[in-house]
């Protein structure tokens, strides 16, 4: 290295070395090429486990049935049987431990997701009874007349006169 011409190169090599050293310190140990190769699998392996640990909020009707057999029986033969409990009752979270976690959605907004009339004859929507939300008792909640677990029945909790007035 007697030749002064190489001095900038020494500095360059020092910088490159520095970056490689920093790299060993900053990069997580499990970062590397995983199952899907370098193109699609270049990542930190432990991140997969982090995503796996993400808490489940909707526990499905199977869990509900364990304790609420009566409610399950109430809905099982109704046209609404395919609607998951948690769609209206709210996600389970850690429901048995924290009973206040569930909040029932009785709003019109929930019902008209399916029952707002849309003039689409060939669509599956046409198979569902539909109403015009702006004209069909706009002042009332749907549950005041219709029993949500079985829409063919009227809701025993309410009287028809309440809606009309």
């Amino acid at each position: 290295m007697k030749n002064h011409v190489w001095r900038p190169l020494v500095i360059v090599l020092a910088i490159v070395g520095g970056i490689l050293i920093v790299r060993t310190l900053l990069v997580p140990k499990d970062f590397g090429i995983q199952e899907r190769g370098y193109m699609y699998g270049w990542h930190r392996k432990s991140n997969e486990a982090e995503w796996k640990k993400y808490p489940v909020k909707y526990k499905t009707a199977v869990i509900c049935r364990e304790c609420h057999k009566d409610q399950y029986d109430d809905i099982k033969d109704s046209p609404h049987h395919s609607i998951s409990c948690e769609n209206c009752h709210g996600p389970n979270y850690d429901h048995p431990q924290n009973p206040l976690g569930l909040k029932i959605d009785r709003s019109r907004g929930l019902c008209i997701r399916c029952h707002a009339y849309l003039p689409y004859k060939d669509s599956a929507r046409a198979n569902i009874p539909g109403i015009d939300p702006e004209k069909h008792y706009p002042q009332a909640e749907c549950v005041m007349c219709h029993y949500p677990h079985d829409p063919r029945r009227s809701n025993p909790k309410y009287q028809k006169s309440e809606v009309k007035s």
Partner: protein, 266 residues
């Protein structure tokens, strides 16, 4: 005879050489550069959407937002439902297709008016409509995900089961993956400021459950299955019936299959 200066120099070079482990050069190992295709795992998740069954209720979008802590009021969503309304056309006028997805169908389709964004609402008379249908969308978890290919730091990747995930601690937020996705499924997390996308409810699939959107759908329009299991009902439908995928021309090999696909679908 080595003088002090030379000794120092040599010592530093040696130390530097030892400090740089060979793992730092792992990237340059040519045998591992190529994508390892035809994975060896027993599981490869795929998704099946039946367009004949979807009624546009948006329960899937609601469940997804809650399950995955996607901000309820933010105008982004991991999954959404599009409405396609095709008009009959008049004499001398071709049929037109109107598409919308207000709030990603978070609250369902509750009005006949088509949302044209800043162009206002478009009212189409019922007698004008020749056909209408709903198209649920979500990440296609492509076999060749372009979003993963373009990530400069390895913050997004595909698991062995084919699920494309984002490492929220490593993403630099350059947005290249957002631009690289032809399906528009990616966005920036409003609070974490990293790329965000559908995880195919990886946490649920790992526990033997289905995705939140599948469980929330009252009509069975959404299903998830394992394409490497020939007995899986989803696999059977995909292999025996006429299914389609979105934007096949990009060569991404999307893994969300559609039954009842129509050419209007964008």
């Amino acid at each position: 005879m080595m003088n002090r200066r030379e000794f120092c120099k040599n010592a530093m070079i040696m130390a530097g050489g030892i400090m740089i482990p060979l793992t730092a050069l792992e990237v340059f190992n040519p045998s591992r550069l190529h994508a390892e295709k035809d994975g060896k795992g027993k599981v490869r998740w795929v998704f099946l959407v039946d367009l004949h069954k979807c009624v546009g209720c948006g329960f899937c979008v609601k469940a997804c937002k809650i399950e995955n802590d996607v901000d309820w009021d933010a105008n982004v969503t991991r999954t959404w439902v599009e409405r396609y309304v095709v008009t009959k056309g008049m004499p001398g006028e071709e049929p037109k297709t109107y598409i919308d997805s207000p709030k990603g169908c978070r609250d369902g389709f509750i009005t006949q008016k088509i949302d044209q964004a800043s162009m206002g609402l478009k009212d189409i008379k019922p007698e004008q409509i020749s056909k209408a249908f709903f198209v649920p969308k979500l990440c296609n978890h492509c076999e060749n995900p372009p979003c993963v290919q373009v990530c400069p730091v390895g913050a997004t990747y595909q698991t062995q089961e084919g699920v494309v995930l984002v490492d929220r601690t490593w993403c630099i937020g350059c947005g290249y993956c957002v631009m690289g996705c032809p399906y528009g499924v990616r966005y920036f997390h409003p609070e974490l400021h990293v790329a965000e996308k559908c995880t195919l409810c990886y946490h649920r699939l790992c526990r033997g459950m289905k995705t939140a959107c599948v469980d929330a759908c009252p009509f069975g329009a959404r299903r998830v299955g394992n394409i490497r299991d020939p007995e899986d009902p989803v696999t059977k439908i995909i292999t025996t019936e006429q299914v389609n995928v979105l934007k096949e021309e990009f060569g991404t090999k999307p893994q969300v299959f559609y039954l009842g696909y129509s050419m209007e679908v964008k």
